[in-house]
Symmetry: C2
Subunit: 135 residues, 2 copies
């Protein structure tokens, strides 16, 4: 299990959100609209995405501490420590963020989407259609 895999950004978040501490803790608590600027080589892979589509955006939370095993949930020091796999903390061995968004606009290799609580400059690693029924 020691082998690793290289994740390659397929785009980057462009957002007014620049302070990680100000980011909402979960997408379901809201978040600003933001743009996903696609890497030129992956624009064609997004060509069938339309306004109104519901997507799961996968980000790489590049500011995370990947050595963290336990955290105080929601950064509340009074909350008992919990194993990171029972939390949505960004601090985890592979800091992949999941963000369920609605596509608001598609133009020029960019997608404007709702509710993307990731700071400006966060790498985007995948886009998937939301499935009815989960995951």
């Amino acid at each position: 299990m020691s082998d690793g895999f290289a994740v390659v950004p397929i785009g980057v978040v462009s957002s007014a959100l620049t302070d990680p501490a100000a980011a909402p803790k979960q997408g379901v608590e809201g978040g600003p609209a933001a743009r996903i600027v696609l890497a030129p080589e992956w624009i064609d892979a997004a060509a069938d995405i339309s306004v109104g589509d519901r997507l799961v955006v996968l980000t790489w939370l590049h500011l995370a501490d990947r050595r963290t095993v336990r955290v105080h949930p929601r950064d509340d020091p009074a909350a008992p420590l919990r194993g990171v796999f029972s939390t949505r903390s960004a601090d985890r061995p592979n800091p992949v963020g999941l963000h369920e968004v609605t596509v608001l606009e598609v133009a020029d290799g960019q997608l404007r989407v709702s509710d993307l609580e990731a700071v400006d400059g966060t790498p985007v690693i995948d886009l998937k259609p939301v499935l009815r029924g989960g995951a």
Copy 2:
């Protein structure tokens, strides 16, 4: 956007499912129960996971073709080609699988879970609690 990041497996799928072609196309269509064998260094990060928990399991679909830009959805040659970001195809630049499962058993650094449609040996890269309300 040219920098990459190294994903490190935190565990591996142990399953009777060995043929990718036989795997259901989506978790919501069902899938066998399977075990997640955690890497020793991440067992503590899973210590608060209990039987009955709903988790999103993130896998690295290591057999995927990462150069794929468009696919015939559901491997149906009659289906029109679509950009991979509008599909759940495993063939995509960063082949992260999302699997919504229920924890059936916890023991000895292993989790037995429902509905994990990943072949035996698939690396697991993250576990997150399912949020009510999406993503």
